[in-house]
Every structure is written in C-alpha cells, then in structure tokens.
Subunit: 357 residues, 2 copies
C-alpha cells in the first residue's frame, strides 16, 4: 500500500464508521442536514433508542402495525421568512411530509400538525398559514387528522414553527431499498436544483440581489406514482434532496449501498439565475436545498422509461439523467466536470444557508 | 321564561356555538388549553381543514388505513424548566403522546420525535433528554420509529422544544365515545390532581415556596388496559387532564354528550401541599394541569369494578369516584361543595400557568 493509498484508506474508514458527536454545544451546522447533522443523529439519537427501524434513517420509517406495514415520518419547519415566492412555511410543512413518505414508496394518508406560536403573532398570519396547509393537503388528497398548538412568550420562537408528521401505506409496487442500488444503475433528478434554497436566501433581502425565482415546493407523490407505474421494482431508491442538497443525498446512498456514484456535472439541470447566485455567493448548487425535487436510482434498462415517467408529470417535466453507479470508489461520489476532470463531492459540511426549511 | 332563565339560555347558546376567534394577535392564553385555546382551534384550524376526523377533536384521531383503524396523535412540548422533580421535557413528550393514544383506547405502537434545538444548547442537556425519551419509550414498550432535528439561532427557542407524534392500534375492547356518556354514569379520576402544574410552578423558583412534590408524569396505558379489561364497553369516555385541568376535560365531555356533570368536590383527591400552594396563589386545583391523571366516565353498574381496576395499577392506586352524570344542566359542570352548596365550574379562562407542558 502506497502512502497515498494508506491516507485514502484512513479517510475511508472515518467516513464509514458511525459518526461521533464530540461537540460540547449545538451549532447551526447541526441543523443543516450535512455531516454535523449526521453526527448529531447517529452519535446521539440513534444509539439512545437502539432499534433497527429508527437506525434505518430513511425519510420515513416503516412500522409494522396490525394489518400491514405503515410508513411514518416527522419533520419540523423553522424556515424564515415564513412566506417566500412560490410558497410558505405551511405549504412546505404539508408537502415536505408528503414527500418523505413518497420517497419511501408510500402515499400519504393522514397528517398531524403541531404549531408552536410566538405570543403576539398576528391572527392574519396564522390564518394564512393554516389556509396554506389546508390547500396543500387538499391538493394532495391527504387528511389532516389531528393537531396541537402551543404558545411561547414573545421572542422564544420566531412567528411560528410547524411540525408535521404523516402516515401512509407502502405502495405494493414499491421495492425501494437504498442498499440494493448496484453498479450500472442510473441516477435521475426530477428538475432544476437549488431553486428553493436560493429563493429563501433572496427572500431574506440581505443580499443586493433580485431574481425571478420561485421555490420548487410541490408534492412528489405524482412523480413517485408515475415512476413506480413505469418501472416497478427497477426503481431502486428515491430521496428528496432537501437540506444538504443533491450532494448529500448521493453520498447517503453511496454509503448505504457501498457503491460509487459518478455525476455528470454538465447534465445536472440548474437554472441560470441559480448558477449566477451561487457563483456570487460561493455556493455549489449541488449543496443547495430543494423542496420538490427527487433523486431516483433506477436499473439501467429502465432509464428511458423512468425519464419519460418523470417528464409526464407537472413537477418532473425538466427531469434529467445525471449520473451512474460504479463498482469502484465505493462509498464516494465523484463529479465528472465538463472539462473531463473529476472531483470528489462530499456531504455538506457546515451550514451555508440556515433555516431554509 | 323568567329573566334569569332567559339570561341562562343566552349564555348556554354561546357556550354551545362554535367559538369564534376574534383576536388580532395570539396570546399566551391561546396556548393554555381552556376557552381561548378552543377558540383558536375551533375558530381557525378546524374550519380550514373541514373534515370529520379532525373535527372530532379527540386526544387522538382514528385514521382508516389499509387493514384497519389506526389512532394518530401529535403534541408539542415547550415546558420550562425542562427538568423538574419527577420528570423532564423528554419524558413528558413520550408519555404525553402515549397517553393521548391511551385515552382514545389505543396502545401506542410507534412514536416520532421532532426536536427544535436552540443554537448553543449544551450537548449534555440534549443527551439527557434523548436518554429520558429512550427510557420512557422502553418502559412503555413503544418503538421510537423516526425523528427530525432543526436548529434555530440563539434566543429563537428556549433550549429545546420537542414534538412527539404517535400511532397505535385501537384496542378491540374499547368502545369509547364521549357522545355516548349518559345520565347515571359515574366520573372517576385516577389519582390526586394538580401535582404536575404545581411542581412546574415551584421548579421555576419564582415563588418563595418549597414543597415535597413531584410531577405525576406516567404512561396511562396500564390504567386504560386495566379499565377495559374490567369494564369493557361500560367505559364510555376517557381523557387525560393536561392543560386546562380536570375542569376543562369535564366541560368538554358535558358539551360533547349534552349532559350535566356534578362533581362532589370533597371527593376529588388533592394533596395537602397542592391545596396549600393553590390557596396561596389563588388557583383552583381543578384547573391545574396533570400529566399522568385520567378522567374516566363509566356506567353506574361498573363503577366499583372500574375503581378496583384503576387502584390495581401503580399510577392509579389513589383513584377515586368524584362525580356523576345528570340529566339536567346539560352542557355544564357543577361542583357540590362540602357545605352542600353548588357552584358552576366553567372551562379554564386565561392562562394561570404558562408552558407547563
């Protein structure tokens, strides 16, 4: 083993071992969905509960319950500002939870909503978010089954925080298993990436930047439904690329399946305005959060059908094939640049854009 | 109709009509579980979603899902301080959600946990709460199936807020229906009331008061299990008396069943230290929050069996019969004082003890 190989082997072992949580305090990075978040979840939370359902760390858990498996998920939303072009915290909360179920192969059946309200919140703001939730739930034909409201003193929250949990039935067509992703599989994204994160950043008004851009918030169930219909068990794994962006999702799958993923960077759809904002801000669109984009791993033979299925849906009409799974470079994601070179694409480190969901 | 009767009829109509939310801003009272909370939930949230499952406003909703009915509930916890004699926010979050399912007649199967963490939170505090959750879940034999963590900037939350949602299977023995409560039924409470609320108040250290008192936080499933075993469908309705206390729960049932409830105030178990603290603070124990106490409405013939069943459990050993259901005074709760007089016991108004759960 050369020195270089020894170094790589050491890095590799560290990437694969269960992350330790060695910090004394929580930082914003622990909420960003990248490496620090993984350390918090796998270093503190998973060991405490020590059960295989939780340890799967999918977007939703599949719970055996009388009569069959029920998928269950939860998500809290603390996005600021709470209203932004294309959506709002209420809409995001409903669609986000529907999507965590969808990428687990489950159609959402019922949602719960837990509201933490700041004392002094304008009633009109509350009403607008409740209406946004109701509209999103109705559009997706999901029952809002139960809820809870708490109020904290002024300053102890920022307007409102929303938790949505959801349950659904795992679709019979779905045979999703990230560990089943294998060499030769293709990687698709359902549309241009980075829209949501950059929209939020611009909506904060802290930058001297304006652009015609909207959040991509949408229910992903129609896309998953179309994919399963077209490709059945050739759909190996699905993820929605929220916090940590597409890069983090690809790394999660590479580690789970112990495969390499090569991304053809020129094939990844990114709107010019997002590319421009990212260049100005020193961000990489692969790490910017999305709210209505999924990443799909499908068998090579099903690639064309999968692409056509995604493109047949409103939210997937700009879907693209962006990469493939390879035998070597196990547990890693490589970008193939337009100049023919390669770069390693790691999980998100730090928190470039806090509170985007 | 006399003038007095006309006034009463008018008050009565107002009590029964769907509460309107007429405020411009959210106040702490909207989080207290009493009249203002009801106005917020029934005036803003229920109309927006407009579905019968949510409109039932039980502690948990029963969702028809492939294979049979699944009970689902959600609760956010913002209690301060986060640690107090007898428990902590993590334990409360797990038991509270188990209990909302239990009083719906469902044994909890799986829970989700959504954490909103304040930037700078000490890792040791986080670990302690995660451990408390794990211990409570293990004690109740409930699976913690999925979770989510978000981080907000320092000052935008207070240490940590916890949302727990839960699903369970409705027990075959349960025929719970608050609307089915009828004249002659008896009312039981499972132990001394007010322990939790007063414990929290003392733990804040703002009062020059010290007392040997602990929160009553506990899983109520063993009590519900024993009740259903002993009395089956003679158990008409169950509630856990959290925010708003026993008084608010009794009012909810009186309205739902359109019956009167008479409480024998001398029979309601209250620890001397709670009575003392309430007298000093001008509080009524009937309105103070509990976290491990249930109120049961049972058929008259099953009263003794119900009492024995509750007393056979650790958390129910001080259970007592405290009242009965009457034909007149529909929709109202009356207290029979030890001097033989009567007083009207309304729902909680305002918020005497904010953030007790």
């Amino acid at each position: 083993m050369t020195d270089q190989e020894a170094v790589e082997a050491r890095i590799d072992r560290r990437r694969r071992s269960r992350p330790r949580f060695a910090d004394d305090r929580v930082t914003m990075a622990h909420g960003a969905g990248g490496k620090a978040s993984r350390a918090l979840v796998e270093g503190v939370i998973v060991p405490a509960f020590d059960n295989p359902v939780l340890a799967g760390l999918g977007d939703a858990a599949v719970v055996p319950i009388e009569g069959g498996p029920v998928a269950m998920t939860t998500d809290s939303f603390v996005v600021r500002p709470i209203r932004f072009p294309g959506g709002s915290i209420g809409e995001l909360a409903v669609n986000g939870t529907i999507n965590d179920l969808a990428v687990t192969g489950a159609r959402a059946v019922a949602l719960s909503v837990g509201l933490i309200l700041e004392e002094g919140l304008e009633a009109s703001v509350l009403r607008a978010e409740v209406d946004a939730m109701a509209a999103a739930a109705a559009a997706a034909d999901v029952l809002l089954a139960c809820g809870d409201t708490k109020v904290v003193e002024r300053g102890r929250a920022e307007k409102l925080y929303v938790n949505t949990s959801g349950i659904g039935v795992v679709d019979r067509r779905a045979r999703l298993d990230p560990a089943g992703v294998r060499s030769g599989d293709r990687v698709l994204v359902s549309g241009p990436i980075g829209d949501h994160g950059i929209t939020i950043l611009l909506a904060r008004g802290e930058l001297e930047l304006e652009a015609e851009l909207e959040s991509d918030t949408a229910s992903l169930w129609p896309l998953v439904d179309a994919l399963l219909d077209a490709c059945g068990d050739e759909v190996r794994a699905l993820r929605d690329a929220t916090r940590g962006g597409v890069a983090t999702v690809l790394n999660e799958i590479a580690l789970a399946a112990d495969v390499g993923v090569v991304v053809d960077e020129g094939a990844v759809p990114v709107r010019p305005v997002v590319t421009g904002a990212c260049e100005l801000l020193g961000l990489d669109p692969l790490y910017v959060a999305n709210e209505g984009r999924l990443v799909a791993f499908v068998g090579a033979d099903a690639t064309d059908d999968a692409l056509a299925a995604l493109r047949s849906t409103a939210a997937g009409r700009d879907a693209a094939i962006v990469g493939e799974v390879v035998e070597d470079r196990r547990g890693r994601v490589l970008g193939r640049t337009s100049f023919g070179g390669h770069r390693m694409i790691d999980m998100l480190v730090g928190d470039p854009l806090p509170r985007i969901c």
